[in-house]
Assembly symmetry: C2
């Protein structure tokens, strides 16, 4: 593909229509300022020529791209597809293109991805994490574009943040389990990212309040259904009298619930199971899985609204917005 | 954020190090050509200044960005996270940045996303679909960059394609079900995208070969576990004597298997269940779910290798590469 086909230019479009280049340029910026018949002809010509808008001159002149960068921890986590839906419900109608990158829950990879997106002069960034390298923070400072951190409630946000309190939500869920008489509750943790740690803090607080002893089952492997089964078996080894499991997310919880059933443990009669995020799998299980409903689409929507607001110079006095959560009781407690 | 902080320039870095701008520029292009001590000082200075590389001059001069665009149908489909892993195992070491866009299985959205990525002068594109709008095809022609279509084996690829034959794989799986004595097998289809249709063709061919009558359960809703349960109940309404279900993917199959169990139907004694893609959920279920193992990571890897090969001017005589598939029998047949 080293033969270079010349991309059609504005001049090519103008020649085809019999209009001036300036008219075509105006059509691109403010179509309503061009006579309707001409606008229609320009649109047809662009389509026929396969015209591709070139962002580069604008990027060079104004360091603006009309694009926002969105960093996701993974490309397959159901949790983030709702966040994306929320973001795009706002960014699309605002004429902003969303460029995605993913960082596999690694701060170093996040740094590289942010560097790349900044080199494309994105006009704003949405980050799914609150923990960043020093270099990331310095780059964001020099880039001086709005940055929105989603999912958590950081004490010191880079700029603005929209999320929920994972520790409080976890504490409430585990408190419900204790309220139903469970005394030997394990926490199944995977990946050990920051949110997993926050949920663990909530679990520990609930247990401490009831004078109960924690059973912590940790792995740094990424979450999966089969891993949930493995962690449940590990927990039963560590505490054969287990009567409850609180899981860092619904993938782990669903796998653990299926493993309980395969082992002949009745849920919830003998052991209760709770997850986090209230994903679809929890509703497909019998019994339905108790979980924390996280307002992910709303978080994405509000994040995009505020990012655009910041791009327009708006000030938000509440830099960190708590979108709260709800509890889905299901039938597994 | 309308106050504009000036981004550090190459000159700023050079001044800090006490080197010439040309030395800093050389360091960026060919670090091994710069004396080690100087290189170290430049790296430190860049880090301290929060220097961000600017792609724009190169984009303007050479219409190259050292970035490739990757279009995914969805941001939460497990199937594509393996493809992405395969792509990045090659693109990262080659120094190419992957920019992702998603199109929600819509040709029109794909067109918009491709337009956006081309406006950033991506050097190549990986598409997850073989069906495109006319305007997409025209834009790709004028852009004249390498394009790789993954997952399917199109008769007329835009450029190159790497995938598998979904109809053949589906026909083999349904043939196995028939071989085990199943006579009333339904196909549970969702989304009705091109690959769902190809798998349906394989299912129909297997049934026709055995003189059996199809039971087609269709919906254009996106796949989910709960939808799988719903489609299973619909299938039982349509054919109360159902003794097998072949599902367009593992989300649907897992939901259908769980619904069978909730209805008291023994799998596989009374009804056998098969899916497609061999996702982790199928291994966590009891009985384990029969499925078609699709070589997704390998598809991503080979796609990226060939895309880069094309960018370097290589020719591939086999324009469409069949990566084949395997059958995971599980315990559900």
């Amino acid at each position: 593909m080293n033969h270079k086909v010349r991309r059609p230019t504005l001049q090519d479009v103008a020649d085809k229509v019999g209009a001036s280049k300036m008219t075509v340029s105006r059509y691109l910026r403010e179509p309503q300022q061009v006579a309707e018949a001409t606008a229609k002809k320009i649109a047809v010509a662009m389509e026929e020529l396969g015209y591709i808008h070139n962002r580069v001159p604008d990027m060079l002149a104004n360091a603006k791209s009309r694009a926002i960068g969105v960093l996701l921890p993974s490309m397959s986590n159901q949790v983030f597809s709702s966040v994306v839906r929320g973001i795009e419900s706002v960014s699309g109608p605002a004429g902003l293109h969303a460029l995605y990158g993913h960082y596999g829950y690694s701060m170093e990879r996040e740094e590289q991805q942010i560097e790349q997106l900044l080199s494309f002069h994105v006009d704003g960034l949405i980050l799914s994490e609150t923990q960043h390298t020093d270099r990331t923070l310095r780059m964001l400072e020099t880039a001086a574009i709005p940055v929105l951190e989603v999912m958590e409630l950081p004490e010191h946000p880079i700029d603005l943040a929209v999320g929920l309190n994972h520790a409080v939500a976890a504490k409430e869920m585990v408190g419900l389990m204790i309220g139903k008489g469970r005394r030997r509750i394990a926490y199944l943790a995977a990946r050990l990212d920051h949110r997993t740690r926050q949920r663990e803090a909530g679990y520990l607080a609930a247990l401490a309040g009831a004078g109960l002893t924690p059973v912590l089952i940790h792995t740094d492997q990424p979450s999966s259904f089969t891993l949930g089964g493995q962690l449940l078996r590990d927990a039963l080894q560590a505490a054969p009298d287990l009567d409850g499991i609180f899981c860092t997310n619904d993938d782990i919880a669903a796998g653990a619930l299926l493993a309980c059933q395969a082992l002949g443990l009745c849920v919830p009669e003998q052991i209760s199971v709770a997850g986090f995020n209230a994903l679809d799998i929890g509703h497909a299980l019998a019994p339905q899985l108790a979980s924390v409903i996280t307002p992910r689409e709303a978080i994405g929507r509000v994040a995009a609204e505020r990012l655009i607001g910041r791009m327009e110079g708006k000030i938000y006095p509440d830099k960190v917005l708590d979108m709260s959560y709800e509890i889905f009781l299901g039938q597994s407690l």
